[in-house]
Amino acid sequence: MSKTAIITAKDVDVFYGEKQALNKIALDIPENKVTSLIGPSGCGKSTFLRCINRMNDLVDICRVEGSIQIKDQDIYAPEVDVVALRAKVGMVFQKPNPFPKSIYENVAYGPKIHGLAKSKTDMDELVEWSLQKAGLWKEVKDRLDQPGTGLSGGQQQRLCIARTIAVKPQVVLMDEPCSALDPIATAIIEELIDELRSNFTIVIVTHSMQQAARVSQRTAFFHLGELVESGATKSIFTSPEDERTQNYIMGRIG
């Protein structure tokens, strides 16, 4: 497994002030696969996700120990530039949060600040590619100049995905991307996640075990700040080794 692992977490402890949120997490995340993080509320799965692109740096009282390596580079090394890291590790949030700008500008913003497009035609192509990949192109190609906030919730979330992949990151982190969406929009996004897998490594936090079972190849179960069990999704759902995993999957805790 470790040969294809793009992200390797070792002994990750996270503290919010005095309170320990994650305890000695060790997890390998394989390249070009979908890994889902599941567990009851407050188990630390979102905290772990946000460690991968150092979004936790924004929380003053948050302290991360241990090491997380992406392609053998420790992302918590002092010389690492967070901006460069976040260009490599994009993030889609729980609530769709497009910028209050046009659809085009939403997608073009990342490439613009990272200098990825040399010319206007390059940028147009990149925007189209991203929207195509996010399955949104057909719906918005005639109204790229309209505000992204005017789209429906599911479309907004796909716009956020398009915006994230426009920077061509290696890893896309998704923090419960479907929790604010209806079942149809959710199905579209799930399909999309499956397609994106060929280009990107995806780590998704989800509350829905069905969703984890549908979209992911690997699953990690968190409970009370600990990583209880991780492995192939199929084996986690059919033959969990730990009793807590089994209880959670059966709906007895959570």
Partner: protein, 418 residues
């Protein structure tokens, strides 16, 4: 289940208290509106007179013995005007009567005649009809604000003066018109000549200095404190002190300006530069507090989105957060500016209370400001300054309304949904 048509006693009480509360609210709004209407109404009623003025026509003899065609600028214009008045009313022979007669028209008449001669060189050597500004008491009589029936000793004009005025009116030599000079003149000791322009310019220059200094400083301080500064004891102390600063009486800032800006740095006294700097000390906390509040109101998801894209904190702030906070920041700025516009006390301390006739052309020249002008005129003994005071208040209110409209327009422009 209880009856849906006839409410229970408890529900009746609830409904009654609800409608009672709504009536209290309406009453409060009515009372405050009534105060506003009374205030603005009385100001407009008193001040409207200042926007019209009275002019008197005199036939001026510009013959060779009065104006030398070779050197028209050497003419003794004031004597010519007095001669014309004497010619018009030959019955005034005593010194006291003569003085009353000369008092019918403004002190400025000589300059007016000079301007007339310069503009109409062809009139030299002829008899010309020239309009002169009437004196303030004449003007008040024409506006009907003087009681003709009152005993002579209680009137500002004697029976003789009133009879002259009536004869001028009968001969169609008196006209009323819009008082343009109120907007083109500076202050004057003569109410009929006093204008608002120097105070208006002084206020505009002062506000300009205030804006140029306080806006960038306040915005930078607010953005840094809200977006970048670590939250620790020091930033708490700074925050508390900014809030305290907003509550400091403005005259204290005036004293500070006097001792530091004028005495230590030797900046020019009475200048809009010093006035603007002192006022910006006052507006700084207002803008900082408003800007921080509107920055805080920007949803954190926008910040996360930008940072998650790999935007640096400065990019996230200036590309996404600040534009969304801009309407609130602008509103706070205009509110601060409006406060500064109406502020008098600190300006008194730095000498902007001076009697300024000339319109200031730069921020270094002595100037006065609208509220100070109102204060000065309200203090003046002449009856005619009463309406000037109200008129100046009207101008100040219009200035304020313009600023608020600007704020609304800017807010509409920049407002975005998120």
């Amino acid at each position: 289940m209880t009856d849906l048509i006839t409410p229970s006693a408890q529900l009746k009480r609830r409904n009654a208290s609800e409608s009672r509360f709504q009536w209290y609210g309406r009453g409060a709004i009515f009372v405050s509106l009534a105060f506003l209407v009374v205030m603005v109404g009385s100001i407009i009623y008193k001040g409207s007179g200042a926007f019209t003025t009275t002019d008197v026509a005199l036939v001026i003899d510009l013959g060779p013995e009065a104006v030398d065609p070779a050197a028209p600028t050497d003419a003794r214009v004031e004597k010519i005007v007095k001669d014309a008045l004497k010619a018009r009313f030959p019955e005034a022979t005593k010194r006291a009567e003569r003085r009353m007669l000369y008092g019918l028209i403004s002190n400025d008449a000589g300059f007016e005649l000079e301007r007339f001669i310069a503009a109409n060189p062809a009139a030299i050597g002829t008899k010309a009809k020239v309009w002169f500004r009437a004196s303030d008491d004449f003007d008040i009589l024409m506006k009907g604000s003087m009681d003709r029936e009152a005993p002579e000793s209680e009137r500002r004009l004697s029976d003789l003066e009133i009879s002259w005025i009536d004869s001028l009116v009968a001969d169609n030599d008196v006209k009323r018109g819009f008082n343009w000079s109120f907007f083109t003149n500076g202050d004057s000791r003569e109410p009929e000549l006093a204008g608002i322009l120097s105070a208006l310019t002084g206020s505009a220059l002062t506000l300009l200095v205030c804006f140029c200094f306080s806006f960038p400083v306040a915005i930078m301080a607010a953005i840094y404190l809200e977006e970048f500064a670590p939250k620790n004891r020091l930033s708490d102390i700074i925050e508390v002190n900014i809030n305290n600063l907003a509550a400091v009486p403005s005259i204290v800032f005036g004293l500070l300006g006097l001792s530091v800006l004028l005495n230590t740095f030797g900046m020019p006294r009475s200048s809009p530069l010093v006035g603007g700097l002192v006022l910006s000390l006052m507006t700084l906390p207002t803008i900082i507090i408003a800007a921080r509040a509107s920055l805080r109101a920007v949803p954190p998801s926008i910040r996360e989105a930008a940072l998650g894209m790999g935007a640096s904190p400065v990019q996230a702030t200036f590309h996404h957060v600040a534009p969304l906070a801009l309407p609130g920041i602008l509103t706070g700025t205009i509110v601060g500016m409006a406060q500064a516009l109406g502020e008098t006390a600190p300006l008194l301390m730095i000498g902007m209370v001076a009697f300024i006739v000339d319109v200031p052309h730069s921020i270094l020249e002595p100037a006065t400001a609208l509220p100070v002008q109102i204060f000065l005129w309200a203090d003046a003994p002449e009856r005619a300054f009463l309406e000037k005071t109200s008129a100046a208040i009207i101008v100040l209110l219009l200035f304020l309304i313009t600023m608020n409209l600007l704020a609304i327009v800017l807010r509409r422009r920049f407002e975005k949904r998120f």
